[in-house]
């Protein structure tokens, strides 16, 4: 095929005949895209904003690599003159909680032990509730949901004593199952909201088809709905992992010392009222504590956005 346009494909010819109408052989000027004003603005803003978000992380990392004398000198932003990993080691395995000096490592396993059943349990209960609320509505179900939603706005601290009394009556106070129950309860409002909205956005026909196929409540949930809802489960997991992993109040109130989560150690390292604050150890400890949720974020970042999309878009 004879292609006259190929003649004009060279840049020089292109510019020379710009705006000329007589020949239909030349190409219009192709605007430079990569460095357009729009892109400079866009990335400029993003990078500046990123700096704001990264600044605290930078301070934390830098501080965690300094020795105490250097910190006393007071330059928050300066890079460490002498890099030391001792604060990290100390935070992990030496920092004292009362008379136990084995750092965060002591609580790490407890945290995992609390985290796993709590996350599983809260997601299990919330997903089933959200599913029932969106697919098996009955008169009044929304009223209960509204009450539940109110729970999202109650400061946890207010609920400490009522929950203590409740757990006591159930004989669960001070046990791991009690704590799991508490996490489940307080995770409910937001999680049920998320799940309910997500399931409501799935096609009703699927539900109907499954009912015609003779599937019951649980079969529809496990065989049809749950496998389609991976993203929202990931979202719920991220929310709960973050919330439960970072929880201090419930962990310390509803368990006994041998089950204290990592955050109790973190609090003890960070919050000592008297004496010298070892800021470098504090920072290292915080970063260490945040590693688990951070890992979860990075691993599931893509699914996160997708899942929230489905859950949130349909109000």
């Amino acid at each position: 095929m004879a292609n006259p346009a190929t003649l004009g494909a060279t840049g020089a010819a292109m510019d020379a005949s710009r705006g000329q109408m007589s020949s239909d052989h030349h190409r219009g000027p192709r605007p430079k895209k990569a460095l357009s004003r729009r892109n400079i603005m866009l990335y400029g803003v993003l990078i500046v904003v990123s700096l704001y978000y990264l600044l605290p992380l930078y301070v934390m990392i830098v501080t965690s690599l300094k020795g105490m004398p250097e910190i006393r000198m007071g330059n928050v932003f300066g890079p460490p003159l002498e890099v030391t990993f001792e604060p990290w080691a100390k935070a992990w395995s030496q920092a004292c909680t009362g008379i136990n000096c084995d750092g965060l490592s002591r609580g790490f396993f407890n945290s995992v032990q609390i985290l796993i059943p709590s996350v599983l349990m809260s997601i299990a209960v919330a997903s089933v509730s959200g599913y029932a609320l969106s697919m098996w509505k009955f008169r009044g179900s929304e009223v209960f949901f509204t009450i539940l939603l109110m729970g999202a706005f109650i400061p946890y601290q207010v609920m400490i004593y009522p929950v203590v009394l409740l757990l006591r009556n159930m004989g669960l106070f001070g046990s791991l199952s009690g704590l799991v129950l508490v996490h489940t309860v307080f995770g409910m409002p937001i999680l049920v909201l998320l799940f309910r909205n997500y399931f409501a956005s799935l096609p009703v026909e699927l539900f109907k088809a499954a009912r015609v196929d003779g599937a019951g409540f649980w079969q529809i949930f496990f065989r049809i709905m749950a496998p389609m809802s991976l993203p929202i489960f990931v979202v719920a997991m991220i929310l709960q992992v973050t919330g439960i992993w970072n929880d201090f109040l419930f962990g310390v109130i509803y368990t006994r010392p041998d089950q204290y989560p990592m955050t109790v150690q973190l609090n003890n390292i960070v919050n000592s009222v008297q004496g010298v604050k070892e800021y470098n150890v504090n920072m290292a400890a915080t970063l260490l504590t945040g590693l688990v949720p951070l890992t979860v974020y990075f691993v599931s970042g893509k699914l996160f956005v997708r899942g929230i999309a489905a859950g949130a878009v349909k109000g």
Partner: protein
């Protein structure tokens, strides 16, 4: 009692009695009666929002009726679970389970019903054979084309060995070509299986080609129930007449007296027209389908002739649709695809009273 439910013959496979359904204050279905014979292919046809899907969902047990009863195969199933009614349903969006393979989709219902393993195998194999989807059994729905998905959705109803199939606009998501092919396939399937089928659509070509009987619905009520032929040729009222047929029927307001219909332009003795009552009279509406207007050489044979002016010509390949003016009124005429008429020309058309329809101007019922 009207005659609708009596048209069905034999012991009805599905019988709907005085069905009412309201969403809150909105009454969607009202006192609906319908009997569907064993092995019949019934099409529910109606404009959007008239309650077709609602009726189908009631039959399937996916909506709780407000009042009335539903009988399937001689059993009152008004409050039975969907899976216990002996029905299979195919949805507009197919509603295939996306994470299961085709085989999984087909066998899900059977597994729920605890059908033995080898029996499941047998039935799935048979359905796959009937629908020619054997090579697809291990794929997931996402990897299927629209037509294939449709077949799987039908297969899902098929394997369950049900008495009644319910289809809710199963072809409306497909493009024209595929729709035509699957329509034929469905008809073949029905001939082969001889199950009762209830089919919702708002495509009249589907309705006309597939149905043994068509129920035209409007606002939650059945306007007319009859064979495609009956509905096409003897619409019970103006709504049905207008609804069925594309391009739609031409209507003329006029007056009927002593068996002669007349307007300002036209005088038309209704010889050969079968009146429903003896010698009606008064203001009336005459309806003539575009394809029943004759042109060219054939005009001379038509009982009534008239001159019209061509307004717009739509060549459609196989046919040509001419929009002409008869006095002030727009008149649609379907002509052969090879016809060459131009806007502005005048031509003579011929009308046959025996193929026309007459309606009372007030009640709009057929005269």
């Amino acid at each position: 009692m009207n005659d609708m439910s009596q048209t069905a013959t034999g012991n009805p496979s599905v019988s709907i009695q005085d069905l009412d359904l309201s969403f809150g204050a909105v009454k969607v279905l009202q006192g609906l009666n319908l009997d569907i014979a064993e092995g019949e292919f019934l099409v529910l046809l109606g404009s959007s929002g008239c309650g077709k899907s609602t009726l189908l969902n009631c039959i399937a047990g996916l909506l709780d009726v407000s009042d009335g009863q539903i009988w399937i195969k001689g059993k009152n199933v008004t409050w039975a679970e969907p899976s216990d009614r002996g029905i299979g349903m195919v949805f507009q969006s197919y509603a295939l389970y996306p994470q299961m393979t085709v085989k999984g989709n087909l066998s899900f219902g059977l597994k729920n019903a605890r059908v033995p393993k080898d029996e499941i195998e047998r039935r799935v194999a048979r359905a796959a054979e009937v629908l020619q989807i054997e090579p697809l059994l291990d794929r997931k729905p996402g990897a299927l084309s629209g037509g294939q998905r449709q077949r799987v959705a039908i297969g899902r109803a098929l394997v369950r060995d049900v008495d009644v199939f319910l289809f809710d606009e199963p072809l409306s998501n497909l493009d024209a070509k595929l729709r035509a092919d699957l329509r034929v396939e469905l008809k073949r399937l029905h001939n082969q299986l001889q199950n009762t089928m209830i089919y919702v659509t708002h495509d009249q070509v589907e309705a006309m080609t597939l149905a043994d009987r068509i129920a035209i619905m409007k606002g939650g009520e059945i306007m007319q129930l009859g064979s495609p032929d009956e509905i096409y040729n003897r619409p019970r009222n103006r709504y049905v007449a207008d609804f069925i047929g594309s391009p739609s029927m031409n209507f003329m307001d006029g007056h009927l007296e002593n068996g002669v219909f007349s307007t300002d332009e036209l005088r038309m003795p209704m010889d050969g027209y079968e009146f429903t009552a003896r010698q009606p009279g008064g203001p009336a509406i005459l309806g003539i389908r575009p394809e029943h207007v004759v042109t060219g050489e054939l005009v001379s044979g038509a009982p009534v002739q008239h001159e019209v002016t061509v307004d717009l010509v739509e060549p459609m390949g196989s046919d040509t649709l001419v929009w002409a003016k008869l006095g002030e009124q727009i008149f649609r005429i379907r002509m052969d695809g090879q016809s060459r008429v131009k806007p502005g020309e005048t031509m003579v058309i011929g009308l046959d009273p025996s193929r026309a329809s007459l309606f009372d101007a007030g009640t709009e019922d057929r005269l």
